[in-house]
């Protein structure tokens, strides 16, 4: 069933059907009604592909994430889809799963389907992703990418704000030895978080040398806690580069019978949905996924609907904020802060020996 069928039955030309459907005001209301009647009767839906072909716009936005099973993304995808529905767009969803081949295939698929814009939320600078898309002048929005690229929109995340709040919150709870579990340092975002931690610590006269490297996954958090516990200068609080890491820390603490928050305060980062559901509920720095998705979508829309001159550089900012739940408490004072999992209590305290392992 196509537009000609409708035209035939409504006894008008296809042009009129097209105009009626697209609500072009010049068409006679009488005729329009006749057309709509037939359209409804037959349950006709225009063929979007034919439409896209002539219009030169597909009304599809690409969305590239690293993996769906990463709990950071579902919220983003949901919001993105909500917005897509509202604005009559479709979304072409793609994941790189950290595989160069998949990144390439992602880009190829985007180009083949002639998307109108792409939001790249992988938190890594995938140079390969850029090249082909930029070459075709596809509107892009990145998050956390380097400043040298122009002609593409950019979402800058203010890590400093939330992390400062977290550090000061812990300090207010009388914590002095605050550790940081960093993420994989090839990620810009992980690097930025670590730097924000350092700055926030020195700012209030604490030395930021209790830093351990994780991997932004549960396992990394578990290892990190073990590592931190084996140092002589144990922390009373741990700030983590993301929530999964924090959950790993909590999990490992549980296994070692370290009580959270009584014996160890834990703070996460991201505020994924899951953070509410841990035991105890996780105090964490919120980087609103909904807001991020919203900004990204709006950025593409701006680019495409041409609100602003598109040759200038577009910057957006996303703030971060501490949200308090139940995984932090006053530091234990007086006694040794927490029971040793093993009997290494007697080893002499070496100062500042807790530099990252790798």
């Amino acid at each position: 069933m196509d537009i000609r069928e409708i035209a035939r039955r409504a006894k008008v030309s296809t042009a009129t059907v097209s105009r009626a459907i697209n609500r072009v005001p010049t068409v006679d209301p009488q005729l329009a009604k006749r057309v709509w009647k037939v359209v409804d009767e037959l349950g006709y839906y225009p063929n979007t592909q034919a439409r896209a072909l002539v219009l030169g716009r597909s009304r599809i936005f690409g969305l590239i994430v690293s993996e769906f099973t990463n709990p950071f993304f579902p919220e983003i995808v949901q919001t993105f889809e909500n917005l897509a529905v509202e604005n009559n767009y479709e979304i072409l969803l793609t994941s790189t799963v950290h595989d160069p081949k998949r990144m390439e295939s992602s880009v190829r698929r985007m180009i083949e389907r002639r998307v109108d814009g792409v939001a790249i939320l992988t938190f890594g600078m995938e140079e390969t992703l850029l090249e082909h898309l930029r070459y075709r002048k596809v509107p892009l929005v990145f998050v956390d990418v380097g400043p040298d690229v122009r002609g593409i929109a950019n979402i800058r995340i203010n890590y400093q704000n939330g992390i400062r709040q977290a550090v000061q919150h812990l300090a207010a709870l009388r914590h002095r030895r605050i550790a940081f579990v960093a993420g994989p340092l090839h990620l810009k975002s992980a690097l930025a978080r670590r730097e924000a931690f350092k700055a926030s610590m020195t700012e209030i006269g604490l030395s930021p040398d209790l830093i351990v490297v994780g991997d932004h996954r549960l396992e990394g958090g578990m290892h990190a806690l073990v590592e931190l516990m084996s140092t002589s200068n144990r922390p009373t609080a741990v700030l983590c580069s993301n929530d999964m890491t924090a959950i790993g820390v909590i999990r490992e603490a549980y296994d070692h019978k370290i009580k959270i928050p009584e014996q160890l305060s834990v703070v996460g980062f991201d505020d994924i949905r899951l953070a509410e559901f841990t035991t105890p509920p996780l105090t964490t720095v919120q980087m609103s996924q909904e807001e991020l998705a919203r900004i990204a979508f709006q950025a593409l829309l701006n680019e495409v609907e041409g609100e602003r001159p598109s040759h200038e550089r577009h910057e957006y900012e996303l703030n971060t904020n501490l949200v308090l739940r139940s995984s932090t408490a006053l530091a234990q004072t007086g006694r040794f802060p927490m029971p040793s999992p093993k009997a290494n209590r007697g080893t002499p305290a070496r100062k500042a020996s807790s530099v990252p392992r790798r």
Copy 2:
């Protein structure tokens, strides 16, 4: 840049370019090479929409879920996407968020984009979804839908198997008073799980009357535990209709200082990713999301590539199995099974008063 541009530069006709790209064997290898050279040089990608228009097939599969933020789905989406990439399909992802308007819009979008097939994984029978799609003879695959619909593929889930394993596991741990927290009973899947529980209990001579209704969400689990604790005939083990419910139970237990698994064994259902990460890690019935996605995709592929005569009914089955983690233990014997959260220890025990509230 289009196929004509390539043709011009390679000094052949567009027909030859098309044939070369699609690897039609009749084209002279010499020419083909010339074409490919130009294609690579210019970075040409065929326009999928034009292709779809003439082929009458879009190479897009629709995937309808209830909501992305439901932790059951990310794994499914990921697997679906992996398979799509492998098979050169695109996926049109849509969520109903339990809203009739959104369901309708989902269907409209699927039809407008002329998808080649739709997998409907909402676990509800959305009649409205069906009608339009069936009318257009779009291949469909459903999960858990009633048996009266024909011409569409169906994935039946064997709830009984896993739930029986769970019940028998608990029984083997000397539990006698095993409660069940059901899901919302308008869901077919929730109903089936409850029935499977009843059958498994009576099968081994236990009476399945400790049943409480939840909502498949965290809150439902929390309420359910409160409700169960306020009865005189308290369970020593709780089997839940899904993992989120179980996590709610664990969370509430934590608040009441009920130790899991020592004082209460908890079993979930689904085995979402998150089940591994709870404290303690959740023993649960696995209904493999990856497998489910795989079956759904394959079903569509079969339908579309026409492996089998498509007029017959296609049934697929997905099994369920218990996976043991750390949230179950031997029932406490002798003493009263768990401390009362409030002082209602003195109330006289009423027999079998624990029928569902609603």
